[in-house]
């Protein structure tokens, strides 16, 4: 999962990384109290799990109470890349000399952790110049490595000491919390030459969740996502109106692509896992029935070992129990598909031989 800035900063604080004073709130009353405690001026920062908020107006300077009353709700109501504000962080303003970049990330192709550092931070990583890159195996950063990085960044004195210290703390954080990415951008050099983390990004390895109860409070899941997880499915909600269900992440992604190519808009990505049983397909339909915007269901199952009659049974049961009242366009590849078609004759479930035909029918059905 990707933590919000204020959550990442909670971890930074726990690990002794220098930060400005800040407080997070979810409504303006709470925000007002914080404003009083912090004192003006400060920065109002939207908390969303995506980047690019600065450009979209999600970070606003605030000088006094009048500005606060206007800007707090403004920032709160923003949507950044479709993401609503999860909270608002008020943070003291900093008088800074320079912005640095520092991160430790899981280098997938090299299969090790890697430090990226630069003395020219403050912009998105793709635009960070003069990147210093150092592979560090399973994530441990020795004093020697940290000094080497600070040297290459051209830093001296207490600034260099600050970067060495911050890097070692980031390393500890990466290892102990099993992060995929820990980023400080910018790491600011203050007027007194010390360094401070002005922003924080933190992505954890979800597969290691079972070892990190302490991080679960940051887990942000909708009711439907929680239910999907319980059933062993993966579900990503999208903003279209055709629910896409299949077995296997690759196959479902592929179905989303083809649906979009044909002018359809997916309402969700739902992967029921490699196999498919009457129960799992019924459970998937139960989840979809809870998404209001859905106008049709596109099912793409590559059975192999799976009997398609088993899937057909789940569809029939869902209609029988009035679970769904939507057309289903399905492509079922697997054994006994003729028998399955026979079972579904006269129902609102259409079975197609190819996924292309099923997609076309789903897109046409929506236009009706």
């Amino acid at each position: 999962m990707q933590l919000l800035e204020f959550q990442a900063k909670e971890l930074f604080r726990e690990y002794g990384i220098s930060l400005l004073d800040s407080m997070s709130s979810t409504n303006i009353e709470e925000g007002k109290k914080h404003a009083k405690q912090l004192g003006y001026p400060f920065v109002i920062k939207i908390q969303v799990p995506v980047g690019g908020r600065g450009k979209a107006g999600g970070i606003q300077k605030c000088q006094n109470e009048d500005e606060f009353d206007i800007k707090y709700p403004q920032v709160m109501d923003l949507k950044i890349k479709g993401e609503k504000a999860r909270a608002i962080l008020l943070e003291k303003m900093a008088d800074i000399k320079k912005e640095l970049y520092l991160s430790i990330f899981l280098n997938r192709s090299k299969r090790c952790y890697t430090i990226i550092a630069s003395s020219e931070g403050g912009v998105e990583i793709e635009s960070v110049k003069n990147q210093i890159i150092k592979e560090i195996g399973l994530g441990d950063v020795s004093d020697e490595i940290a000094r080497e990085i600070a040297n290459k960044m051209g830093l001296k004195g207490i600034t260099a000491e600050g970067v060495v210290d911050t890097l070692k703390k980031l390393s500890k954080l990466t290892i102990e919390k099993e992060a995929e990415l820990v980023e400080i951008n910018p790491l600011a050099i203050m007027q007194d030459d010390t360094v401070m983390a002005l922003d924080g990004k933190f992505v954890t390895d979800d597969n290691a969740n079972f070892r990190h109860d302490e991080l679960q409070k940051y887990q942000e899941k909708t009711e439907i996502e929680k239910q999907a997880e319980k059933s062993g499915f993966s579900l990503v909600e999208l903003d279209g109106d055709i629910a896409v269900v299949g077995n296997g992440a690759g196959l479902v992604m592929s179905t989303l692509d083809m649906l979009s190519d044909n002018g359809g808009k997916p309402a969700c990505f739902l992967d029921v896992g490699g196999g498919a049983t009457t129960e799992s397909v019924y459970e998937a339909l139960t989840l979809i029935s809870k998404l209001d915007r859905v106008k049709g269901i596109l099912v793409n199952l590559y059975g192999g070992i799976v009997k398609t009659t088993v899937v057909a049974e789940a569809f029939l049961k869902a209609y029988e129990n009035n679970l769904i009242d939507l057309p289903v366009y399905s492509r079922l590849k697997g054994t006994e598909s003729e028998k399955a078609k026979e079972m579904l004759k006269g129902s609102r479930i259409k079975i197609f031989d190819s996924v292309e035909e099923a997609i076309n029918a789903a897109v046409m059905g929506r236009k009706k």
Binding site: Q2, P49, V50, G51, K81, G82, L106, R108, S109, R111, C112, E124, I125, E126, L138, E178, E180, L181, V203, D205, D206, N207, A208, F210, R211, S234, V236, L238, G246, N247, G248, A249, G250, L251, V252, M253, S254, L256, D257, M258, L259, S260, D261, P266, F269, D271, G274, Y302, G303, G304, I305, K333, S354, E356
Partner: protein, 303 residues
């Protein structure tokens, strides 16, 4: 690099030529036993199973079950094992296998923590062993040996190598290839995790020198940059066999994990556009739909 065909098939003068022994770790679990039976039905020589505490019993009345990998390897001299244990027990099972002398480890479990995969990989490197996966459907030489969970129906012996991150897309695309008359010499599931024991470039190394190879199909998806690395490698080597790619996830939103732990676009890192443009640069056509793969491959072959 160890020759994958030597491991899977052996040499004509080996006593176990074309029937290399495979040990199934977690053979008595629901998933392990289902697929052990399926592999046996396919002709894979399953020589032992391992389930701690069940040593001395037999699986399907023929396959001996051992308490530990060391005992299983001592008893059978097998060099291949396949793991079907829950993700949190994967690292322990992998260490047992590698320490016992396994040279090819097929790691089926999904949801293995990255740190555990990296630790297993460190050990594999020390021991000169190959790990396929985790989160892989497995590896197979059609009509000879299947070490994995793939259905047998889509595959047919032939001369095309298929490398795939996704399981079901591997089946789907192999099925389309088979129907178009393109059998497969080998298919390798890379797995959908961020860190893979065998990356696309490693799998490419395994297959690129197959003497009668007629073509290569790469089935990628969003996340990471292993497709880009492979495209670069193909260009650097001047690999000339007809090659076609498919990339899933063009329509996926950024910064969302799409089912696979590894299928996530961060900024531009891992995007479909980046992969497609690198393949284009390497003169490798990228299919828009799985069904288009054999069509593009046939086109490449005519040139």
């Amino acid at each position: 690099m160890t020759d994958i065909f030597e491991l899977l098939k052996g040499n004509p003068n080996d006593a176990d030529y074309k029937k290399k022994g495979v040990i199934v770790q977690g053979i008595t679990g629901a998933y392990g036993s289902l697929h052990a039976k399926q592999m046996m039905a396919y002709g894979t020589n399953v020589v032992a199973g391992v389930t701690p505490g069940k040593g001395g019993q037999k699986f399907e009345e023929t396959v001996p079950i051992y308490n530990s990998m060391q005992e299983a390897v001592d008893g059978t001299h097998a060099k291949i094992s396949i793991i079907f244990v829950p993700a949190k027990f994967f690292l322990g099972a992998a260490k047992d296998a590698l320490n016992a002398g396994i040279k090819l480890l097929v790691a089926i479990p999904e949801h293995v923590p990255i740190r555990d995969t990296m630790e297993a990989l460190e050990l594999a490197k020390q021991k000169g062993a190959i790990i396929i996966g985790p989160n892989t459907p497995g590896i197979m030489i059609p009509e000879l040996i299947k070490i994995g969970i793939m259905p047998s129906m889509p595959f047919k012996a032939g001369k095309i190598a298929v490398l795939s991150k996704s399981g079901t897309l591997l089946y789907e695309i192999s099925d389309a290839l088979t129907n178009a008359g393109f059998g497969q010499s080998i298919t390798i599931g890379i797995g959908g995790d961020p860190v893979n024991g065998t990356r696309l470039i490693d799998a490419f190394e395994m297959v690129k020198d197959i003497s009668d190879l007629e073509g290569l199909v790469i089935v990628g998806e969003i996340g990471g940059d292993s497709e880009e690395m492979l495209a670069q490698k193909i260009m650097d080597l001047g690999f000339k066999k007809p090659t076609v790619a498919y990339i899933a996830g063009r329509a996926a939103p950024k910064e969302k994990r799409m089912g696979h732990a590894g299928a996530i676009v961060m900024g531009t890192y891992g995007s479909a556009e980046s992969k497609v443009s690198m393949f284009n640069k390497a003169n490798i056509p990228v299919a828009k739909r799985p069904a288009e793969v054999p069509v593009l491959l046939a086109g490449k072959m005519q040139k």
